[in-house]
């Protein structure tokens, strides 16, 4: 019996603790959730920082939270959206792990009257209200044009990417098209699978460079292969002979741009995606007289947050990424 008594005391303590915590909660708060397909990606932290800042700008009563699976799995992301819907949050910002899987969940949230705004990666088949993000084709295109600018028809390019996410496919497509348009003599020599990882990229790119010594440019279609490509070039002792076009501005990428191992990176604007996404969701949440009828307030359906090619001179603003508890 002692066992049971002790257990009951602990139980009571826990309950008391929990209820005091409940009392301290505010009352008129609005909650917005951000759902990403790779929890803890630096890129999405920038986006979340934008969301946090926009929420603070709107007012103290806005609460935000970040959710998402630890490994790339769109079905787990869909689950998070369903959970937020059941909880009845005031708005959801989501980035689609793949273009199709989340449609039903997004539509479910919209049907429940919760505004859903996509950012970074769109789910065009869903009823989502708006999308704020990079036009990935254009992003790839900018990179392709920059590479054409560097080497012209002499460009021999290796691309590092991994199969699956739709936005990566678009970037590669944009890259190929615009490179071909700007420098018809340029050539895509090989595309390798980096499995989405830095060390995977190192392994794959090193082998690629050995098999194809003519390669003089590496295009990283997402954030991780940039440092992997730099390590690969270092491995082979050909630093300076191969130009690397990285993607995004993770700290390791910035560092490598500073010391010259990476020539430039395609800078997206995740902060703006989160910031605009939050504003869009908030706007949609609050109906005005004019928008009456749709069930949602005013919002823009498509916002291109743009890219810029960042060289050594452009990276200072990104050196201090946001942090939060």
């Amino acid at each position: 019996m002692k066992f049971v008594a002790r257990f009951l005391i602990v139980l009571l303590l826990l309950v008391a603790l929990a209820s005091s915590a409940a009392l301290s909660l505010g009352q008129e708060t609005e909650t917005y959730g951000m759902v990403v397909f790779l929890k803890g990606s630096e890129f999405f932290n920038w986006a979340y920082a934008g969301m946090v800042d926009a929420a603070a700008r709107i007012g103290d009563h806005i609460e935000v939270q970040l959710l998402g699976p630890a490994e790339w799995d769109a079905s787990l992301e869909a689950r998070e959206i369903e959970q937020l819907t059941a909880r009845g949050v005031d708005g959801i910002l989501a980035t689609a792990g793949d273009a199709e899987t989340m449609n039903a969940s997004i539509d479910g949230a919209i049907a429940a009257g919760i505004p859903v705004v996509l950012f970074d990666s769109d789910a065009p088949g869903s009823n989502r209200l708006a999308f704020a993000g990079t036009n990935n084709y254009n992003a790839g295109c900018s990179a392709g044009e920059a590479v054409a600018d560097w080497h012209g028809d002499a460009a021999r390019v290796g691309i590092s990417t991994f199969p699956g996410p739709d936005h990566l496919a678009r970037r590669v497509e944009g890259f190929e098209d615009c490179l071909a348009a700007a420098a018809p003599g340029a050539e895509i020599v090989q595309i390798v699978n980096d499995e989405g990882r830095v060390d995977g990229a190192e392994t794959a790119i090193t082998a690629m460079l050995q098999a194809n010594p003519t390669i003089n440019v590496i295009f990283a279609s997402h954030g991780n292969p940039g440092p992997g490509a730099a390590a690969a070039v270092r491995n082979l002792g050909i630093v300076g002979e191969v130009d690397i076009m990285a993607f995004d501005f993770g700290l390791p990428v910035l560092e490598l741009i500073e010391n010259g191992e990476i020539r430039a990176t395609v800078g997206q604007n995740p902060y703006l995606m989160g910031y605009m996404g939050m504003l869009l969701a908030f706007g949609a949440r609050h109906e005005t007289g004019v928008t009456a009828g749709s069930g949602f307030g005013p919002y823009a359906t498509l916002i291109d947050t743009g890219v810029q090619i960042l060289g050594p001179d452009d990276i200072d603003p990104f050196k201090n990424p946001p942090t939060f508890e």
Partner: protein
């Protein structure tokens, strides 16, 4: 004439709580208690937690885990393990999707997919039986192969655009206004009740405990252990395929990304539910409670806004805590 008490087991007269109930009852009872306590605490902070719509979401979200856990429970009872479910699950979602896109009638597509799942299970059993390797290794090999196959047959992008009626399996349901009770929940319930009942009461299904408890003696009792393991792994594979079909219908899409770490979530749930990896112990009720417990933890994170970074820490700690509890119970009973 003969002193009979030698033949009686030690019956302690002052039997306490620990002695009065079987270990299984204690473990399941403890888990149920933990679930109730946890639910009360979360509920006090977030009143929406125990609302019907949220409970519904909790169940639907962990439906694949729950269905796969049914098979895993039997696998673990026979002292095996099946890692390949995390490969079969997306594989069958993709296969049913591709079949539907190719114009196969829905029932046929589903049947073929379930058969494919069972077939992969048979391969697991074949490798493990024929080459006498631990099922961990056999199913690991199949998991690795399937992950690659899944990427190859989809080219890495999701398969989607299934016929409207296919949505019945995983999307449609009974509309209660505030929430939609999906038919897939009934599929799970039916499977859980059926398998749970058979595992308790059916002569053939109960052999799994015998095999897991003492494989040699099962052999000596004339059980064809190898053939039985075919049955067990085929069942596990087929159930993973059921989960795959449901998820394909639910999302109206199928991608090779599905099922990351699924095998570990399922094994965690089954073990929290009282199954013994050494075989011979485990129950459907326990496993389902284990899945529920994990589902509640995940949902509470979505509820609370506490950084989900803590999620893994909490789930891992829960696993260790529940095992420690079970071990403590076992030892206190033994003394």
């Amino acid at each position: 004439m003969h002193d009979m008490q030698i033949l009686k087991s030690k019956q302690s007269d002052g039997a306490g709580l620990l002695q009065r109930f079987s270990l299984e009852t204690l473990q399941i009872g403890g888990l149920a208690l933990a679930i109730v306590v946890f639910a009360i605490i979360v509920q006090m902070n977030f009143p929406v937690f125990l609302s019907l719509p949220n409970i519904n979401v909790m169940i639907v979200n962990f439906l694949p885990e729950a269905i796969i856990a049914l098979g895993m429970t039997i696998v673990i009872i026979t002292a095996g393990i099946d890692l390949s479910v995390a490969g079969i699950y997306p594989f069958s979602a993709i296969i049913v999707g591709l079949l539907l896109l190719a114009g196969a009638p829905i029932p046929l597509a589903i049947i073929i997919t379930l058969a494919a799942g069972a077939f992969i299970g048979a391969i697991n059993a074949f490798i493990s039986n024929t080459f006498r390797v631990h099922p961990f290794i056999a199913t690991l090999a199949i998991l690795l192969i399937l992950r690659g196959v899944n990427i190859i047959i989809t080219g890495g992008s999701p398969v989607s655009g299934f016929p409207e009626t296919f949505a019945i399996v995983g999307q449609r349901g009974i509309d209660f206004g505030t929430f939609l009770l999906r038919y897939s929940v009934f599929i799970w319930l039916a499977l859980a009740l059926l398998i749970g009942y058979l595992l308790r009461n059916h002569r053939f299904w109960r052999l799994s405990y015998f095999i897991g408890g003492n494989r040699r003696s099962a052999r000596m009792s004339g059980v064809n252990v190898e053939r039985y393991l075919y049955f067990v792994y085929m069942l596990s594979g087929a159930l993973a395929a059921v989960a795959g079909v449901i998820v394909a219908s639910q999302f109206n899409a199928a991608s090779n990304s599905y099922g990351q770490n699924l095998e570990l979530r399922v094994i965690t749930a089954v073990v929290i539910g009282g199954a013994d990896l050494n075989g011979g112990a485990g129950s459907v009720l326990g496993s389902m409670l284990g899945v529920l417990f994990i589902a509640m933890i995940y949902n509470a994170f979505a509820m609370s806004g506490i950084s989900t970074y803590w999620q893994d820490v909490v789930v891992g700690a829960m696993l260790l805590a529940s095992i420690l509890m079970g071990e403590v119970l076992k030892r206190r009973r033994a003394n």
